[in-house]
């Protein structure tokens, strides 16, 4: 069995809404293995984003443990969490979230420049097929192009895991496929672990493992022995 890089046990997240407490996660056990592509499925409001935020060190669990190798993420203070995000995690969001005032190249450099072992920016630009648009600002790029920049930016830090929250949510089918293919390729070439959130069941067929969240709990887990190629995804 492959070695695990991230192990979460009994993860709970409580939000306080005025007088009432809302549990977004109600006790989730989750292990992420090296070079694995996991898809987190679930309806809207099931806790997908909350889970990924915990995994990426964006937020702290209310209860439960989260171990990154030897590091106890759940015990980290703010500076240590920042350190963790800086060196180990690459985020990709649904709405690309590029810095509007920085060019494509600069957005990618923004990721590279704080990491301890970054990848080459020009190289990444070529890999996502945007070498000729490197000096364009986000407003001059289409949605798909922007998301490619975002992926390159996440990758530039050379993190151990990539966390993508509905990266294709705002894109059409061919563009979406292109993005998924990129994620897969990077998983293979740079041996990253990828966690991909979606509520699109079709996309989940591309995963090694599928986790289905419902109402803050894991409803079921499915080991997928024959992941399909991104080109075969439909929606």
């Amino acid at each position: 069995m492959a070695s695990s890089i991230l192990v979460g046990t009994g993860l709970k997240k409580r939000y306080r809404m005025g007088e009432v407490d809302v549990y977004a996660l109600k006790g989730v056990d989750f292990t992420l293995y090296k070079q694995e592509l996991v898809v987190v499925l679930g309806e809207s409001g099931s806790g997908k984003t909350t889970l990924v935020n915990l995994l990426g060190g964006m937020d702290q669990a209310t209860e439960g443990e989260l171990m990154f190798g030897e590091t106890a993420i759940h015990q980290c203070d703010e500076d240590e969490l920042t350190e963790y995000r800086r060196n180990q995690v690459g985020f990709i969001f649904q709405f690309y979230n590029l810095m509007p005032n920085l060019t494509a190249r600069e957005n990618i450099s923004l990721g590279a420049q704080i990491a301890s072992d970054p990848l080459d920016v020009q190289d990444l630009l070529e890999q996502v097929g945007l070498a000729d648009r490197a000096d364009h600002f986000p407003s001059q790029l289409s949605g798909g192009e922007q998301q490619r920049v975002a992926i390159a930016r996440a990758l530039a830090k050379n993190p151990r895991l990539l966390l993508a929250d509905e990266p294709t949510g705002a894109l059409d089918l061919p563009t979406g496929r292109h993005i998924l293919a990129l994620l897969r390729r990077f998983r293979d070439e740079y041996s990253k672990a990828v966690v991909l959130i979606t509520h699109n069941t079709n996309i989940s067929q591309l995963a090694d493992r599928i986790i289905y969240l419902k109402d803050g709990r894991i409803e079921w887990v499915h080991e997928n022995d024959s992941p399909i190629a991104p080109e075969e995804v439909n929606w």
Binding site: G56, M58, Y84, V89, N101, I114
Partner: protein
């Protein structure tokens, strides 16, 4: 670093606000450095002059004291050095006789070593003991285009003499020569100092053979002035000591110190105000920026940028401005400091001292800017610290604030247009911006109202009241001392040109009430005097009676007396000079220039135990002074050689001087009004820019809905007018308060600034502020016309 590029582009995108901020910082720093350096230069130059020329620490005026007695004073306890002088004012004989020109002759003992108040000879030759040759003060010399070797004809001891100009010099005592303390402006063309050998002076003024009427002294280290003064008063009593005062009360020193003080105040006051505004702008701008870039902050956090790193990124917007502004302002300020110093030196004729480039001054200015803007910037973007990464990624929680105005007044809500409602909501939502606009407009309105009142009411009243309302004569004839008045009165009254002549007695007295004392001139007038009118606050005539004093308001305040109180009076004019008499206060009247007491002339004579006398006469000519004031000139001509007369002054001439001074000072008022206008303009313009970029999407959506840019803009203008109206309501009274404070701080024993503000000035403040609001809105409207709907709506936040 990549984030620097982001910063540059962010700033470029909102250039207006940052540029306004930068300009303010630069102006603030220029003002700070230029004024600070100039005042420092002046102070250093002053100190050098004082030290090198042995400026005295004490001054005594007396009737007459024998020359040899100075030696005794020198040996007194506490006195380090003493110098005696004879000081006499003489009139310059002017062939055309158009204006009265006076010279103050100050004797110099050529033998004395370590002379106090020594003259720094700038050019010319040494003086010789018995020769009537003198050194002139620089101002007079230059103002009259004199040359060395030229002669000036003066009238001394009833005869015309020729004074040779032997040199030009400056003395610490007369850096700023003034003929009387009550003058606010001395025309260097008409009054100057001439330093003449004592021997020559004694030959001119035979009454003062080997005698002095002025004594200056310096103190031994650690000696107390008051103690020395007491001892001197005793010692000199028999020589008729008139007054002994310390250096701080010496006119020239007082004016010079005051001037340096004013420049110093300018060096702090202006920059503080300006930097505060700049700080406020950067605060508003950064706060908005951080709110707006919430998502971007989230990404930076998600990517592992620490909160301090992000904080520093936003802080660097203000720090960059501070550094650039501070450096630029510092350099320009230093560059302007010397021309400014030159202007001041030219005015005061101080020996020039300059400051070159100073790295520490530059560092100070940058440090101040970094401090102020850093502080403002920190508060503007400290929200970054509170924002957790997850929060940052989500849209901001809707403000759960107090109920806004609309909810409180549903009726009001129904009356308003959609734009009005939006405006009201904006006001209650962004409190700090509302406060910024409110205070800015309030202050500029107050400033305009204040300056307006100062320019159109207070200053004219102050300057012209005395010579238009109170004194209404055509000429004032000053006698060389108290003289029997009836015969002179008859003589003057008998002159063909003269329609009316009135005697006036000006008596130096010391008034005291409990422990308070004041040395003033008590003026005796005929009860029916028409050429010198004492008026009450409402402009009604007050008749100087024979059995009580009229006091000026300031004098009454200083003595802490009211109507009905009794004061003690001492005077060298009393028949028994050691006597003290009691007089009642019967009225208190306003007086803006000078500080006097008044009484009926007959009553005054009786009080002093003297026969009818006068020290001057006021005359009115048949048909006024005539063209070119020829009748005044004729009168001067008539009495030129009389040793009874010290001078003939024309009231209109005095008035002209005031007008001249007023015209020179006028630009300062214009400057203040301009600052007020620029202030309101900048505030409104910046607030428009901020609202524009804050609500871009909202405004663009409204345009998409089919509203014109004017209608869209009315959301912003409505908000501004609303705040503006409230601000001027608060600002106008504030202007009145400022005027009151200004008048109080400006007023001295010699001048009292009236602090009245009419509705007209208040209206001017309001009108000019509104005009500035209107004008700046026109500018902002141009920006909204250029707003591209497509670009705005496409860009995600």
């Amino acid at each position: 670093m990549i984030l620097w590029r982001k910063m540059m582009r962010d700033m470029w995108g909102n250039l207006g606000s940052y540029l306004a901020c930068l300009v303010l910082v630069v102006i603030g720093m220029v003002a700070f450095l230029a004024f600070a350096i100039a005042s420092n230069n002046m102070a250093v130059s002053k100190d050098i002059l004082y030290r090198e020329q042995n400026f005295a620490e004490g001054f005594a005026e007396l009737v007459a004291m024998p020359e040899h007695y100075v030696e005794r004073v020198r040996r007194m306890d506490g006195v380090a050095q003493a110098t005696g002088r004879l000081v006499r004012d003489v009139q310059v004989y002017d062939a055309e006789g158009a204006a009265s020109v006076y010279l103050r002759l100050v004797s110099l003992d050529l033998q004395e070593h370590g002379r106090l108040n020594d003259v720094l000879l700038l050019k010319g030759e040494p003086l010789a003991a018995r020769e009537l040759k003198g050194w002139l003060d620089q101002r007079f010399f230059h103002a009259n285009d004199l040359e060395l070797g030229e002669t000036i004809r003066i009238i001394a001891g009833g005869r015309v003499r020729e004074l040779v100009v032997g040199g030009v010099g400056t003395s610490p005592e007369f850096v700023y020569p003034m003929r009387t303390e009550a003058e606010i402006y001395t025309d260097p063309q008409r009054f100057g100092i001439a330093f003449v050998p004592a021997q020559a002076m004694w030959q001119l003024f035979t009454d003062y053979d080997r005698a002095f009427n002025s004594l200056v002294f310096s103190l031994e280290p650690g000696a107390d002035f008051e103690r020395v003064k007491e001892r001197l008063e005793l010692e000199l009593e028999r020589f008729g000591v008139l007054e002994i005062y310390p250096r701080v009360d010496q006119t020239s020193h007082f004016v010079l110190t005051e001037e340096i003080e004013v420049i110093n105040t300018m060096a702090t006051f202006f920059p503080v105000i300006i930097l505060m505004v700049a700080g406020f702008i950067i605060y508003i701008v950064l706060r908005r920026l951080v709110e707006q870039q919430r998502g971007q902050i989230g990404i930076l956090k998600a990517f592992g940028y620490g909160k301090r790193q992000i904080m520093f990124h936003y802080l660097s917007y203000s720090l960059a401005l501070a550094a650039v502004g501070g450096a630029l302002g510092g350099l320009i300020g230093m560059w302007l400091a010397n021309p400014l110093t030159d202007m001041l030196y030219e005015f005061f004729h101080l020996p020039p001292v300059y400051t070159g480039f100073s790295a520490s001054a530059l560092a100070t200015s940058i440090l101040i800017c970094v401090g102020v803007l850093g502080f403002a910037g920190y508060h503007g973007c400290k929200a970054v610290l509170r924002l957790t990464p997850v929060e940052a990624m989500q849209p901001p929680a809707p403000p759960v604030g107090r109920r806004n105005l609309l909810e409180k007044f549903p009726l009001l809500a129904r009356m308003l247009t959609v734009q009005g409602k939006m405006a009201l909501r904006n006001i209650s939502r962004s409190r700090s911006r509302t406060a910024f606009v409110f205070f800015g407009l309030m202050i500029s309105c107050a400033m305009v109202a204040f300056t307006w009142a100062l320019a159109t009411e207070a200053m004219p009243k102050f300057m012209f009241y005395q010579y238009e309302q109170v004194e209404t004569h055509d000429a004032k004839i000053t006698l060389d001392g108290p003289r029997r008045r009836h015969s002179i009165h008859r003589e003057l009254q008998g002159l063909p040109d003269v329609s009316l002549a009135e005697p006036m007695a000006e008596v130096p007295v010391k008034l005291s009430h409990r422990w308070r004392r004041e040395n003033v001139l008590l003026i005796g007038l005929l009860p029916q005097a028409r050429l010198y009118n004492i008026l009450d606050v409402d402009g009604r005539r007050v008749i100087p009676g024979d059995d009580g004093l009229l006091l000026s308001q300031r004098l009454a305040d200083n003595l802490a007396v009211g109507i009905g109180d009794t004061v003690e009076l001492e005077s060298l004019y009393l028949r028994d000079i050691y006597d003290k008499v009691e007089v009642d206060v019967v009225a208190i009247v306003p007086q803006y220039m000078g500080m006097n007491a008044y009484m009926g002339i007959a009553g005054l004579e009786e009080l002093l135990g003297q026969e009818a006398f006068a020290t001057s006469f006021l005359v009115e000519f048949v048909g006024g002074p005539g063209p070119e004031r020829e009748r005044v000139t004729a009168l001067r001509e008539l009495y030129r050689e009389s040793d009874l007369l010290a001078g003939v002054d024309s009231r209109l001439e005095q008035l002209d001087l005031m007008v001249e001074y007023w015209e020179e000072a006028g630009w300062i008022i214009v400057l203040y009004v301009a600052i007020g206008v620029v202030f309101s303009f900048a505030i409104i313009y910046i607030s428009s820019l901020v609202v524009l970029s804050e609500r871009q999407r909202e405004l663009a959506s409204m345009r998409v809905l089919g509203m014109s840019s004017g209608e869209v803009f009315s959301v912003i203008t409505f908000e501004q007018w609303l705040i503006g109206v409230v601000a001027v309501v608060a600002g106008a009274p504030l202007g009145r308060v400022i005027l009151g404070a200004f008048a109080q701080s400006w007023s001295t024993d010699m001048y009292t600034m009236p602090a009245e503000m009419s509705a007209q000035s208040l209206l001017a403040g309001v009108a000019i502020t509104f005009a500035a609001i209107w004008a700046s809105q026109r500018f902002a409207l141009r920006k909204i016309r250029r707003l591209s709907m497509v670009a705005v709506l496409k860009a995600r936040e």
